[in-house]
Symmetry: C2
Amino acid sequence: MDERTQPNDSAAETCYCPTSGVIDLLSRTYAIQTLCAVGTLQPVRYGELETAFGDVSSSTLSSRLGDLTEAGLLERNQYDEIPPRVEYRLSEDRTDLCELLTPVLDWAQQRETTD
Amino acid sequence: MDERTQPNDSAAETCYCPTSGVIDLLSRTYAIQTLCAVGTLQPVRYGELETAFGDVSSSTLSSRLGDLTEAGLLERNQYDEIPPRVEYRLSEDRTDLCELLTPVLDWAQQRETTD
DNA sequence: CAGAATCCATTCGGATACTG
DNA sequence: CAGTATCCGAATGGATTCTG
């Protein structure tokens, strides 16, 4: 169903309809960055991310990691050692999203500096 | 500067630092969708977008269009006719961002239906 | 170290009018 | 048609504090 709007079928059919769940998720603060950072630095620990971002509050980063993990985009592995260690990495089949998103970050970054 | 973290230099160096302006912008409701929709349907009128999204409030869409236009990502052309007509399209050199983003939307959409 | 919990200021965005 | 203005509830995310 939904045979309307087909200007050109370069990307088959993109749906612009409601704010989908994943997009919603990516709209939260540091979500895209977190996803891409994990993808690049994985396996990565909580503290590393905190350092990489520089000015994110622990509660925010924590929430974001929780969101992404719950959504199945990230994998969280906890090692019951002393001191505690937790590693995050991309879920196997979600790597592609990260590859889609990184160029966006790069684009944004370049625009900041160039513009 | 910044000679740390270089897992592979596929994308040179991606910055995960603060929430950059553009990312901030894209995080707003319907921002990504609006950008991609305009890219595909351009030149597109206000009402067309409203219809395409189906359930967006006029104030929200209006704000989004304003944001994106102000950021230089969209171009707004007003024709003083009766009835009034306004057309939106991507700014010349911003097309690439749309091309980066559409796959993300597609990914999200596919995940919704498949997952 | 890696968070969870709480509290709260700010913001966002939807609904609902109302214009040029 | 293409919005803008206003109002207001919901939600976000930062700071802070505390814990296994």
